[in-house]
Symmetry: C2
Subunit: 378 residues, 2 copies
């Protein structure tokens, strides 16, 4: 917990200038204790606090007290942890509980948790009474730098992940970086893959800064707040350019075509591979594939891999516990991805660190050849 008194907790403010849907992301230590005043300033009379059985016992009471102390009638809705909660049944449960809590159009849903809670609570907020406002209080590094920013909400369908949802921007994001002090090291590393990704997309200077400062991020120094804030700035800039993902926003998928395929092949079994680990391997492969296509110096791919390795992330197909499947299985898993159109594959490739671009129509045969050489190399 932060040693800064709650009332004076300082924060870095990252504005997300989306017109009448503009909001601020606040990044800093100890924000949760002071959250009530900041959330109450949004002008609601009541809040439904959605959390899960892991996070709730740690922080829900402090947050709901802070809300109550600032005049907000508060109900706490606690869900089972894990991806299975992001379901139609989970949506029904949250919506009905939010209605039960008599949340009106001017009131709020507050998501306290990681990506599952943020995506589900945000979707419920998007559809209860055809839309109430919501606040994200992300409690993992991954959700602080990725899912809590940008307004993508949703649940999974039997046809795939995140296939049912809404674009619904939060009214405020409070990223309390002191919550990460108790985050398991593996989850911290996995979230870090997304931090590094922002540098790799279009900010070589930030990637270099990460190489030099990553221990401070993991140790909870001021570098952590700066890294979270910079990640949010980077994501916000992309989202502002392309809120509904009709173009540029796809750059955020750097490393994700390979990553999602590996998650699918490991059947989303988090004991084998979590999302950020898939992304770490995917980032390395995206650069190695770019190098194999002659687009990018191999030295850049090696630098990407070296850095991800140094923080303890997996980087190669051979690092997938239980194996990564055959080339055919990998290709199959890739072509099931949302980013595939008309049979050809869309990749995010790079001309170097910080120089990524959207490459539609990559021939499957080139992907096959690359994957074959990667598997043979192990």
């Amino acid at each position: 917990m932060s040693s800064i008194p709650a009332q004076t907790a300082s924060a870095i403010t990252v504005p997300v200038p989306l017109g009448d849907r503009a909001y601020d992301i606040l990044v800093g230590r100890g924000l949760i204790e002071a959250a009530g005043a900041r959330i109450a300033a949004l002008g609601a009379r009541a809040a439904a606090l959605v959390t899960d059985e892991h996070v709730g016992p740690l922080y829900a009471q402090a947050l709901s007290r802070s809300l109550a102390a600032n005049g907000l009638r508060t109900a706490v809705i606690t869900l089972p942890p894990g991806e299975a909660t992001k379901s139609y049944a989970g949506l029904e449960r949250v919506c009905d509980a939010v209605l039960e809590a008599k949340i009106e159009r001017g009131d709020l849903v507050v998501a306290l948790g990681g990506g599952v809670i943020g995506d589900l609570a945000g979707f419920a907020a998007a559809v209860v009474r055809r839309g109430v406002r919501f606040v994200q209080v992300p409690t993992t590094l991954l959700s602080q730098v990725d899912s809590s920013v940008g307004g993508k909400t949703g649940i999974n369908s039997r046809h795939g992940k995140n296939l049912v949802g809404a674009f619904h921007q939060p009214s405020l994001v409070l990223a309390d970086t002191s919550l990460l002090d108790t985050l398991p090291a593996r989850e911290m590393r996995a979230g870090y893959a997304e931090v590094a990704k922002y540098g790799l997309i279009d900010d070589a200077r930030f990637f270099a800064w990460c190489e030099g400062n990553w221990t401070g991020i993991f140790d909870g120094g001021p570098e952590r707040d700066e890294a979270v804030a910079q990640s949010c700035r980077a994501k916000a800039a992309v989202v502002v350019r392309d809120e509904h993902e009709t173009g540029d926003r796809a750059l955020l998928n750097l490393g994700h075509t390979f990553g999602h395929a590996l998650e699918r092949i490991t059947r989303y079994d988090s004991t084998r591979l979590v999302h950020g680990e898939g992304v770490a391997i995917g980032l390395t492969l995206a650069f190695r594939f770019s190098a194999a296509l002659g687009l990018c110096p191999l030295s850049d791919a090696e630098r990407v891999e070296a850095h991800l390795k140094s923080v303890g992330l997996p980087t190669r197909l051979s690092h997938v516990p239980g194996g990564c499947g055959t080339v055919d299985e990998l290709l199959d898993a890739m072509t099931q991805d949302k980013k595939v159109k008309g049979g050809s594959l869309t990749f995010i490739l790079a001309r170097g660190i910080g120089q990524s671009f959207i490459a539609p129509g990559v021939e499957a045969e080139k992907v096959r050849a690359f994957l074959t050489s990667e598997i043979d190399a192990t």
Copy 2:
């Protein structure tokens, strides 16, 4: 069925100028046979046609053939008829079927049916892949003049009707008025209550026109197309002023505070009361209440009632089959309504025909006194 060849079916076009969500409502006889070309012009490659077991057997084949003939891959999704379909389970079923049909971001959901199908399919379209386009092909008078216009979509929760949903504007509305030739007389009358409502809200001239031309509307003369088109124009004008119902759009609820209470009291049992019948009684009561409050000439209230009676609609509490409950039950049912804020009631009242206004903060005691006198009078 229309005698006009499908290819040349003429239509009245009602534009809904909502910026980048602008669309046209086409009103005319025989539109369904020519629907494929008009829907294909929206530029999709595939369409999921959502209908119910009543409407599907009558029109789904003709419509899906017309779509296929215009190059659209089409899947038909048929649901049980009735309000119970507008549920979380119904949403899951439609979303998964739309995904199963491989509907992508650029493709379409087409709603073929009354309000239940339009609301449910529209909501599914709003959330599948975080939003695909949809087309309304309303098959009842009520849905042609009300629910298919304006972008309100949703399902019911155990806490109330339409409490979960989205604002999602259609890309096109095709109101084929020849479909009403086979509509049961009771449903036709019920839909007509909403037509008359538009005159009562702010268009005394249209109400007078209705008084003189209603038989043509029921008989399927050119008056029907004009009445549907004028209703759509009226609703569109309100929606354009206040798309998300933060103000003026509440005028569309004229007659609905009383009407919804009666639907609730009759437990949404359509053998006793359907929505439009509740609205007819509600319109009469809204004018009689306005007269009782000294806001509106009693002669205007009498004129409203006389016209609704002449088309065969119920107009008084005593006309509710099985009874309307006690004054306390009616008040309870009213205060459960979404339009109640902070304990006081919001009504749409009138200073005369075509002169309605939003009246927030109507004292419950005045409502009680009015309802008591209405029940005593029976």
